[in-house]
Amino acid sequence: MRRKLPTIAIAILLSYSGFSQEEGETRGQFSGNFQLDGQTYVKDSLSGAEEAPEDVLINAYGNLRYNYGKLTAGIRFEAYLNTLQGISKNYDGTGIPYKFFNYKNNELEFTVGNFYEQFGSGMALRSYEDKTLGIDNAFEGVLVKHNPYNGLYFKGLVGKQRLFFSQGPGIVRGVDGEFQLNEAFKLDSMETQITLGGSFVSKYQPDNNPLLKLPENVALFASRLNIQNGGFTLTSEYAYKVNDPSADNQNNYQPGQAIMTDMSYTVGSFGLVVGGKWLNNMSFRSDRNARQNDLLINYLPAISRNHTYSMAAMYPYATTLNGEAGVKGEIFYRFKRNTLLGGKYGTLVTLSYSRVNSIDTTNLPMFDSLRPHWNRYETKFLSVGKERYYEDLCLEVQKRLTSKLSSIFTAQYTAYNKQVLEGKDGMIEAFIFVGDLSYRIRPKHTLRAEIQFLETKQENGSWLAGTLEYTISPNWFIALIDQYNYGNPEGDKQLHYYMVRTGYTRGSNRIQIGYGRQSMGVICVGGVCRVVPASTGVNFSISSTF
């Protein structure tokens, strides 16, 4: 059955397209994309890399979309033969897990099949895919969007979430309303723009636990506010979840709460961003027994800065779903040209800070000698605990030195509580320095050199990393990378993690191939992370859009 429906969908799409050609007129449009990532794996006892019995592992997918007037339909074929290391092996195999049909007119839009959707910032509901993290929690069901009056928008959905090549056991129902005051009251010319919103999401999963009375319907409510005036923006969302005992919270029955507020202000060369987040017991999944990144209904972004350099991103922060309190701030200023600090070409200076602590909790006494109290602990809204989970202070200076030479220099301090976040190895404190120079040799030819230094006394010790990259725009690039873990306390693990990589881009097609050794680590996107195992071998990718 898994294959039958998509086959019928393809047949309908192709026959419709064929009909169009016979008529000799353009009646619709196909679009899509293709991506293939592969890697060979050889055993490397020094780095701990494991070989793959298959020798080569490949993840690939292709999207095909057809649009005809108010109608859109699409499918995605995926192949994991077998799944790349670090992504769940439950993906092994092939299939068409994504197929949909969408119709939209002025007032109503509906989608049947698979779809991605987000309510507000995602604290109530967000389904999305990220192949890098191996996440895809698309809904399979029905989505309706309705715009009854100017400025008033409703969404409603019901569906099950994707779990590899099947669906999770829970049914998710959700409604979201958004009221754009300026549009509703024809105040478009007013400088201040105000939007209010509210969401309600409920999940159903049968209670099959003979030891506990579990709530079969679990609801989450959220409200939000957005105010914009010129360079000023304020966004805030609050969410409340009723009792939701689960694997994440060890069957904790107390309600969950979260609030997240961001404020930004930019004027001329100056910018300021401040934000805060507090949450308690806010994991919300369509299977109470799911773990890792499976079947998440809502999305709680990390408050820390996303770093792009490999050493700066060595210890990335993932949101602690069971409770955290965090603040962030970022200030930037662009010194103008022909000033003391701006020099001939201007200078951009950015200073950012973020810190995440535990929330303040008091453990409740055991219910009896075998069973813990069902609420586990008590806490007060917005209370801050003493335990530091993460801290990050970063100064970045971007400066063009000459007409051909530009630079980025970064100094960073990171504290990462690995004991709490990964369950081992205590607190890690690291100082990171990055220098990045780009030199335009001649038009279209650029040489980029990057040096990174990470100093720490904990875990694997200090690192020195260098990258040399030559780009011939817009087609070619070649890069040599070496990360040297010279400070590893175990002498035989003071390794060079080298990599050579080259790629060719032409039009909408791109091919890339590399060879080398990759260290074990963690990658995160927006506060959601996965562990990347050590690997050694050839990696390659092909991508295309049409």
Partner: protein
């Protein structure tokens, strides 16, 4: 038309607002499944095997141990837990030099490749059936409903410094045919006092570890193949020298049988000292 849409939206939203169950007070329910202390070894009373991959450095594992204790209260000896200490969280360190790993446990761990810790397998040895501690109660309940025609008899003896275990597997319904049967025989120890890390990194040095795998009698971590004789029986004997760290009065033998789908069809146990 707009008004109709709006009314429908409000009706739908109102219905949704009812989709919320709030549990007041004590949510614990202890089930009743008959005599939980039934340990008869010669009938085909279904028993359920729960393999838990754990480690003394795994801070979330004590929660899983709670779950197992709860399940033992309800299901008694119809539930046989096996705690396998293996992987990252079981490796000793300089400050915590405890090593509860076994070659059998490590081999099975590397075969299953746990997605996270703690993780369990209920009546299965298939990697795809890994489940979280909060899922075990439901799985145990379901597994107990699956009948079996296999019985497992175990007779243990201690001769000098060796443990000898005689095992008899019997199919009491010969009309049910089994193929690709595999036998697993394990030695467990209860009440092993040692270190255990708790959330936040707190170390409890006198934590009591139960159902700890101490030895795998079976030749391979993938089990020993066997076939029934004409009487629909299979007999075998295993032995092992007693390690000086083991306390004989806390040891027990757990035996289980799997099929080609890695389903655990039946399991049983017997203490070394009765």
């Amino acid at each position: 038309m707009r008004t109709i849409y709006l009314i429908l939206t409000v009706v739908f939203a109102t219905l949704m607002l009812h989709s919320c169950d709030i549990i007041e007070g004590n949510p614990y329910e202890l089930g009743d499944i008959g005599d939980p202390n039934d340990t008869a070894s010669v009938d085909a009373t279904k028993r359920v095997l729960l393999i838990e991959f754990t480690g003394f450095k795994c801070t979330n594992c004590p929660e899983a141990h709670y779950q197992i204790n709860l399940l033992k209260v309800t299901y008694g000896n119809r539930l046989l837990p096996v705690a396998i200490h293996a992987g990252t969280f079981a490796r000793p360190t300089q400050s915590l030099p405890y090593d509860y790993r076994t070659p059998f446990g490590t081999a099975l761990h590397n075969h299953i490749l746990p997605n996270s810790y703690p993780i369990g397998l209920v009546s299965s040895l298939s990697s795809s059936n890994q489940s979280s501690a909060t899922d075990w109660a439901g799985q145990v309940e379901e597994s107990l409903k699956v009948s079996t025609s296999l019985t497992v008899e175990i007779e243990n003896s201690v001769v000098n410094s060796d443990i000898k275990t005689n095992i008899k597997i019997k199919n009491i319904k010969p009309e049910i045919a089994y193929n690709d049967l595999k036998l697993f025989t394990l030695l467990l120890e209860d009440s092993v006092v040692g270190a255990q890390l708790f959330p936040g990194g707190t170390t409890v040095n006198d934590y009591v570890h139960n159902h700890m795998l101490r030895h795998g009698f079976t030749t391979s971590h993938l089990g020993d193949n066997f076939v029934f004789n004409n009487q629909n029986e299979f007999d075998t004997v295993y032995s092992v020298s007693i390690d000086e760290k083991w306390r004989v009065n806390k040891l027990s033998v757990v035996v289980f049988v799997t099929n080609s789908d890695d389903d655990v069809l039946q399991t049983n146990y017997k203490n070394i000292e009765q």
